[in-house]
């Protein structure tokens, strides 16, 4: 994907015109945010826990070297092996080396953002090792040869028809037949992936956390695919970036209490799994070897900087669900692994503002991301920070106003306009009222003005764009 502001604007227009995507995004917002509100309301301690979770991460980051060392010592003591990677290339090479030493041909993979970040799949493929994604959403987008568009709902941009087509094209036993029932698709995927689980030589997962006290890595999932991935093959490799460290079981417990509630509105994900070391004496299942690859890839440079707070992120995806820009455009337009508000801060921080300078502008700075973030990450402040850096470097500062122009694009398209109204007065309206009014709603002025707003005068955004006017 082309990482430029021009590509961004182009992609944004494509996304706005994509009816399927627009429908899927409306559903996403409605489901996740409403459920999150419900989960929050049923736990009176929710906000206290957010403060504590934030404090735990701040403390950990301030002592990150010591906690990483403690974690490493515990992994080793429990029979696992720790590897360190400065960057993506080193991380990939470590994984390949382990695969080669095991003579691995197929690896199954649990969902892992860091694996996406370091582009592990294409690398393994290029070296003759077949990676199979096992999270249903990840599997779907792997078949489609696309990157994820949401942290926790990677295939949110696909509808059932599109999934049916992907299965028909890729599952030989279907003989091109289209399944029309979601149940049947699921049964089909389960069958296909079951064989892959049982055949794989190595299982690769991410890690939501690394517990320094115990040397455990943790994965949080709903499907159980991550568990089969790490349980069945001979070898388990867990990839974790340095900021995933937490001090103790008690500390991670506090964070777990806000994670699933923020992500999917569940009180707890179906499976939260703590792994330490390889198979023990007398055990009849579980991998024989356990490797943890600790990856930096730009994070250490964020410590002590204006964007350090971003390292508290637990990848719940809640800010994506709350973001009006993500909600209209989906994740692909961002053009990097991490989309939405968190991605707009994290990607420039990891990959440099020169390449990522369009992202901090992909925001209305409405503050809703910060309102919902379980780790109380001041995303708007850091977006402003990156915008200032961008201006300093003379990187197309005027694109900062693209949000405004995007608005005129909404308003000039009757279907989108209607949808916008529907969201405006529906879901977000309800949320807005609970928060005590529209004032802290995304695009607040815009939404309310939109209600009496007459059809926009004259030309559309595209007209102007095509004439060569640049926002």
């Amino acid at each position: 994907m082309e990482r430029s502001a021009r590509a961004f604007t182009h992609n944004a227009h494509k996304a706005l015109a994509d009816d399927v995507l627009q429908d899927n995004l409306v559903k996403l917002k409605g489901n996740f945010l409403v459920r999150r509100e419900r989960a929050r309301d049923s736990l009176p301690e929710f906000d206290v826990l957010r403060d504590e979770a934030k404090a735990i991460k701040d403390h950990t980051l301030a002592h990150l070297d010591l906690y990483l060392e403690a974690f490493e010592a515990q992994v080793t003591a429990t029979g696992g092996q720790v590897h360190w990677a400065r960057d993506a290339a080193e991380a990939r090479a470590i994984v390949l080396e382990i695969c080669r030493a095991e003579g691995a041909r197929t690896v199954t993979k649990g969902k892992s953002m860091i694996a996406e970040e370091i582009a592990l799949n294409p690398y393994l493929e290029a070296h003759g090792i077949e990676p199979v994604e096992t999270d249903l959403g990840e599997y779907i987008i792997q078949l489609a040869n696309e990157p994820p568009s949401h942290i926790i709902a990677p295939a949110i941009h696909k509808n059932r028809q599109q999934v049916a087509e992907l299965f028909a094209d890729n599952h030989a036993h279907l003989d091109g037949r289209l399944l029309d029932d979601i149940d049947d698709m699921l049964a089909d995927a389960r069958k296909v992936l079951r064989e892959r689980f049982l055949k794989a030589d190595i299982g690769i997962t991410g890690a939501n956390f690394m517990v320094a006290e115990t040397g455990q890595t943790i994965i949080v999932t709903n499907e159980g695919n991550g568990d089969l991935t790490q349980l069945l093959p001979r070898v388990h490799i867990a990839l974790a970036s340095i900021e995933k460290a937490v001090p103790s079981l008690e500390d991670v417990t506090t964070i777990l209490r806000v994670l699933a509630r923020s992500a999917t509105g569940q009180e707890m994900a179906s499976y939260t799994t703590f792994s330490a070391g390889g198979r023990r004496d007398g055990e009849t299942d579980g991998p024989e070897a356990f490797h943890v690859v600790i990856v930096d890839n730009g994070r250490s440079a964020m410590l002590g900087s204006e964007v350090q707070d971003m390292l508290r992120c637990i990848r719940c995806g809640c800010c994506l669900n709350a973001c009006p820009v993500y909600g209209k455009l989906g994740g692909h337009v961002y053009g990097t692994t991490y989309s939405g508000p968190m991605g707009s801060v994290l990607s420039p921080s990891l990959f440099g503002i020169d390449e990522m300078h369009h992202l901090p502008n992909a925001s209305t700075l409405c503050g809703r991301c910060e309102d919902v973030c379980p780790m109380r990450i001041p995303i708007p402040r850091m977006l402003r920070y990156w915008r200032e850096r961008e201006t300093e470097r003379g990187l197309a500062p005027s694109t900062a106003r693209w949000g405004l122009n995007l608005w005129s694009a909404f308003a000039s398209r009757p279907t989108l306009y209607r949808r916008l109204m529907r969201i405006g007065v529906g879901v977000l309206g309800r949320l807005g009222r609970r928060h005590g009014g529209f004032a802290n709603l995304p695009l607040a002025g815009g939404w309310t003005r939109a209600r009496e707003m007459p059809a926009p005068e004259g030309q559309t955004f595209q007209d102007r764009w095509q004439r060569g006017e640049r926002p």
């Binding site: 979601i182 103790s248 008690e250």
Partner: protein, 229 residues
């Protein structure tokens, strides 16, 4: 990747730039923190007596689509399991954890055909034994070991878990404490895997429609035993 470890840790240290005094304090603080089992806020909902915890556990487990049967004594477990399978027309065959607490139950009378082993791809039913139950969210804690293969929790589409009411706790922290008390909270004593299981396998990946049993179990049935034996 020799040198990567030092490079990463070195960069982290450089960015954190602690003074020598801070360094001494930092090391002391984290040693304390790692030893101290310092608890954060626990939800008030777990502040109740044993009967209250049982009610909460059942309510929360059922809210995530698990079913719960309460039996008076360990002797009643086999019939409860057999009855559950019979009522749903499920096979009377299962892989069962080779666990001492399950071994003493009278399975012979239940007409179930059991194999004491880890689960395989084709098993329809897996029977496991919970290390603890966590009332806060209706969560089961399973600790892997020779007598508790973790595959039982994920491969068979029907997952049956036997839980003693005496192993029921309020919050997750209490469960960690149980694990530590059992000598299994540290070092090599730590189970290879601790599985916190809350309901059945689920996905919303196709059109946000909740689907159960995508890779892991479709059904989770908990048999809670009251007698503490």
């Amino acid at each position: 990747m020799t040198g990567a470890r030092e490079a990463v840790l070195g960069r982290v240290r450089e960015r954190l730039a602690r003074s020598p005094d801070d360094e001494t304090r930092a090391r002391r603080d984290i040693a304390e923190r790692l030893a101290g089992q310092r608890r954060g806020t626990q939800p008030a909902r777990i502040d109740r007596d044993r009967a209250g915890l049982e009610t909460l556990f059942v309510e929360k487990a059922e809210a995530v689509d698990a079913t719960v049967a309460v039996v008076k004594k360990a002797q009643d477990v086999p019939e409860a399991v057999a009855g559950y399978l019979r009522e749903r027309n499920l096979p009377a065959e299962a892989a069962i954890a080779p666990h001492a607490a399950l071994d003493t139950m009278p399975w012979q009378g239940s007409a179930l055909s059991l194999s004491r082993r880890a689960a395989r791809g084709e098993d329809a039913v897996g029977i496991a034994y919970a290390f603890a139950g966590i009332a806060e969210t209706g969560t089961l804690m399973l600790a892997s070991g020779p007598d508790s293969p973790a595959t039982l929790n994920f491969l068979p589409p029907t997952h049956i878990v036997v839980l003693h009411e005496t192993d029921l706790v309020g919050g997750y922290e209490d469960a960690w404490q149980l694990l530590r008390d059992a000598g299994r909270g540290r070092g090599l004593d730590l189970p290879r895997t601790v599985n916190l299981i809350t309901g059945t396998s689920r996905t919303g990946d196709i059109e946000q429609t909740l689907q159960k049993g995508v890779h892991g179990p479709k059904r989770l049935h908990i048999v809670m035993v009251r007698d503490g034996s």
